[in-house]
Symmetry: D2
Subunit: 328 residues, 4 copies
Amino acid sequence: MKAHPPVSLSDIKPDLAIEAHEMFQGQHEGEIPGVSLVKENFSLGCRSTIKVLDDQGAQAMGKPIGTYITIEAPTILDSDRSDHEPVVEALVKALKEILPDKEQYTILVAGLGNARSTPDALGPMVTSRLVATRYLFTLNDPAMTEGLRSVSIITPGVTGVTGVETAEILEGLISQMQPDCLICIDALAAGELSRLHNTIQLSDTGIHPGSGIGNMRKRINKETVGIPVLAIGVPTVVQAGIIANKALTILTDRLEHAGDKSSMPLLITQKQREEVINEILQPFGGSLMVTPKEIDEQVDHTAQIIAKAITLAVHPGLATEDLEYFLH
Amino acid sequence: MKAHPPVSLSDIKPDLAIEAHEMFQGQHEGEIPGVSLVKENFSLGCRSTIKVLDDQGAQAMGKPIGTYITIEAPTILDSDRSDHEPVVEALVKALKEILPDKEQYTILVAGLGNARSTPDALGPMVTSRLVATRYLFTLNDPAMTEGLRSVSIITPGVTGVTGVETAEILEGLISQMQPDCLICIDALAAGELSRLHNTIQLSDTGIHPGSGIGNMRKRINKETVGIPVLAIGVPTVVQAGIIANKALTILTDRLEHAGDKSSMPLLITQKQREEVINEILQPFGGSLMVTPKEIDEQVDHTAQIIAKAITLAVHPGLATEDLEYFLH
Amino acid sequence: MKAHPPVSLSDIKPDLAIEAHEMFQGQHEGEIPGVSLVKENFSLGCRSTIKVLDDQGAQAMGKPIGTYITIEAPTILDSDRSDHEPVVEALVKALKEILPDKEQYTILVAGLGNARSTPDALGPMVTSRLVATRYLFTLNDPAMTEGLRSVSIITPGVTGVTGVETAEILEGLISQMQPDCLICIDALAAGELSRLHNTIQLSDTGIHPGSGIGNMRKRINKETVGIPVLAIGVPTVVQAGIIANKALTILTDRLEHAGDKSSMPLLITQKQREEVINEILQPFGGSLMVTPKEIDEQVDHTAQIIAKAITLAVHPGLATEDLEYFLH
Amino acid sequence: MKAHPPVSLSDIKPDLAIEAHEMFQGQHEGEIPGVSLVKENFSLGCRSTIKVLDDQGAQAMGKPIGTYITIEAPTILDSDRSDHEPVVEALVKALKEILPDKEQYTILVAGLGNARSTPDALGPMVTSRLVATRYLFTLNDPAMTEGLRSVSIITPGVTGVTGVETAEILEGLISQMQPDCLICIDALAAGELSRLHNTIQLSDTGIHPGSGIGNMRKRINKETVGIPVLAIGVPTVVQAGIIANKALTILTDRLEHAGDKSSMPLLITQKQREEVINEILQPFGGSLMVTPKEIDEQVDHTAQIIAKAITLAVHPGLATEDLEYFLH
């Protein structure tokens, strides 16, 4: 059996900047130095813009300097999908803020993750819905490309299946194609169940394939690939260790609340907690994920939202009635 | 948002007979009346044969009268897949014990579950590997069917996607085709993480689609479809409620062991436990599943093992060198 | 090697009623007794309604008594898919004429054909885009089903892969589910290249799985399944024998036109022609199909058109803004 | 409608060197200068080794200087797949002759073509069956890699869908990964129906994606990617123009044979022939392909043969009993 890594609570770092922010605030008083946060509501949801401004902020957040926009909308989980429209709009607006601010540019969209494993299939599901337009620009017929920008698509697969690192494919391809911007879509791990499938994070700081689920691979960002990298992620799983830890926390809170401090020593240290958690989660430990049973529907919905938002944000002059022809 | 059912501990009934047996023995002294259990080791694994002999046994086990064979083999999880061979052999042997005991018979194999959701895709993955031979028997050329039996395949999909109940498809098709035997393959939910992806259960009592994961659908068994139904299942998930409950159990055990009984009242009733568990698991509650990150590989391995074993068990005269031509 | 059937010109019967009609008129003077034909233009296309009124008409056409509506629209092949909208509208109108004329009814949609073989994948591609609503009707919440009808979906696969006849699945399932109407979608074979991928045929006479491509299977119609059967088909291939035959025809026409009748005897009989055609097409003969290289795109476009039209025709009160939520 | 190119007989160049050779010999007397050909039989088939030795040979053949091995075996089409084994063996032998002649090397395998279009899906079907081993070599555990070489896999998709040229992905990735050798698998177009699905060509001269079916893309060979490129191809289609042309040829041969020369002028020039052919094939012209109805089975069989042969040829010490664990 493949050696499964034990759970290490200190290794569980939130993929979402908004969670890193909450975590820091849960442990410290006041503002986070070097970090700004602005919250706004939109119809049916809320948007947070976190800016990590300097090294001090990066240290506090455990996240690189840059902008992180989080769209939260419980309605993404709704069976009534007409409620998804405001989310698409909020996402289009956020994408346009981060995409290059010029008339024409070319874009490469990369769908990261494992198409064969539903909880990790968000990236490939988004790229399978997008329509590449780069070919149209080679025809030298302005009527064919009016209102469009040049979009190419890559679905690199996962290293475990292909033996190829995502960074190797993307770096190589970008050096050949010279697009102006890279958009990466990937499934993330959340720190809270309440964020699953209803939160979309955008950032301009690149991506760390597999970071949320424990496989540290080479980072993909402006430094490594030479062009701006816009990352879009949706949390589709929570590490099982977090669930087990939460059970312990709730119980000790209750004991404490009941004035029973005699049992506290049993769980006082992180090491003791990890011991209990690893006992619960053996033999799989840190590789166990929690995900809702309807994972296929939910990944399908968020993939649809993201594909639609990318298409609308990237092609400035796409008439609404033509949109469906630019989505599979 | 779809209303997610809360976790109800009393509703979590193990799909595996071996777990129902252990659970009963954990709560009662001595033998289970109306139930027999025989354990045997085989190379690299162990087989348990549980027979539920009468209504008293059925009541105690929460399982219908019939035979339940469990193949346990930790090597299924191994990356060295040559260790899978003894599991295939044990499964072939068990299948032959339950399959009709006559020279010729025809078989319908149904791959239940949702091909789009990896943890639920075991059934469709097995049927996608099998080769149907029924057509060969219509050619009236004995040379083409020597050593073979007539196999047909159906992959009915899940009600949530198709609107059609599995039982409706199978009952209808069986009344049309009149096969001698039905084999159903389905993913199960385990009560213990240690059983995930390394346990295969065979039974002659039919199948309850979706029972392990909370959707009670119409039972498929000899009574409902009129022919023997052989069910093959592999646990691919554990309900998250079980993990949370285990965390509480371990902690209270430790408290008790430490002689600290003062805090016991906090968790003494099942209702109190469920309250805590539902607090942990909100907003998804009973629909949350725990599964290893490598779910795609593991379902692939067990699907390969089961498809190979069915092919070897069903076709009595299949030469080893021809086996690969009867598997995709 | 599987014995490939030789081409037999008299066995090549057009799947399209409109072609049967043209063929008859090519060979006879005047009206076809027992058959009516009405042609209408719509924006960007044309619709023909053929009614086979009695046995005499059925004999002449080689088609059962009933209604055959053909939508012809060259724009289906366009890369500008906004030109598909009038085709969707014409199809919705035609579907509504054939669907049951009552307030509420339940529908089963069957996607026939082989999902693994692109030219034969139209049916499965349509059903993969449809959303089943039958489940919503079990919730007893009128708000969930307002404006909708109950739709279920089945994708039975092909006999060559599953060993199961399409008729066996459909007859069995219909006897279980008792829907009010069956819609079958299947790829057809055309008699003319000019009809490929730009013609959609609707009929109320049922379907003959595999008839266009030589596998005569059991017919699925009101007589065999007990409920009205609406068939939707699109020609995706032309038999290669037709191409070869056309080459011979064009050449002999030219010879004749050039006043050279001395060579006519070489091709005067159908048997002589078949001899030449089978020489050209060996070793595959009648199993060879002609199809455009962009087959995947073209099947995708027609599947999209048909799925959209079925959804709009079946659900009477579906608001335009909700349509996309009822299509994958 | 996309403008479909007319058929131009002089543009139809055979993908198979063996066909180029036959074509030259059909038009000229004697040996081809600068080209050698050796034929050998093996159990159930025959192997031809063509060497294009110099520029004169390259000119005559219309193929770059290098080695072209053709494995011809009618049994590939057999439903009795045990007859495929000698083909696998012949292919392994040929692969070993062309693969690097050293103890250790690393390999990148690229499956070219369109997974969504069955006649073009050979490449993706081969890569979906291969198991990447490169990851094992990063574990620094010699036991894990004994008898193996490092294999990585890429399935780049087609430009029409992704907007990315195959050459851009491969050149970029090779510059990043620095493998010692590239193996490309692609579907080819044959000049003769009799070669469909029963001929496998190996060459060391690289590949021209889409060349057989009319899309001239950037060549992938040692000059462009800097490492040896081994190409494996199987003809899965014949251009429809070839079928039409053959009909004309057979007919004129018959006329000539019958002593009727008066009609010859009608078809004497290539331009006249093309006129007739384009009349037959309109409106699709040069984009029409001929392929057998059972295309999915046949591509599946050849993909299985090629995946097995690559695995056996690349991993020198793979025990037969472990083979199935290195193939999906």
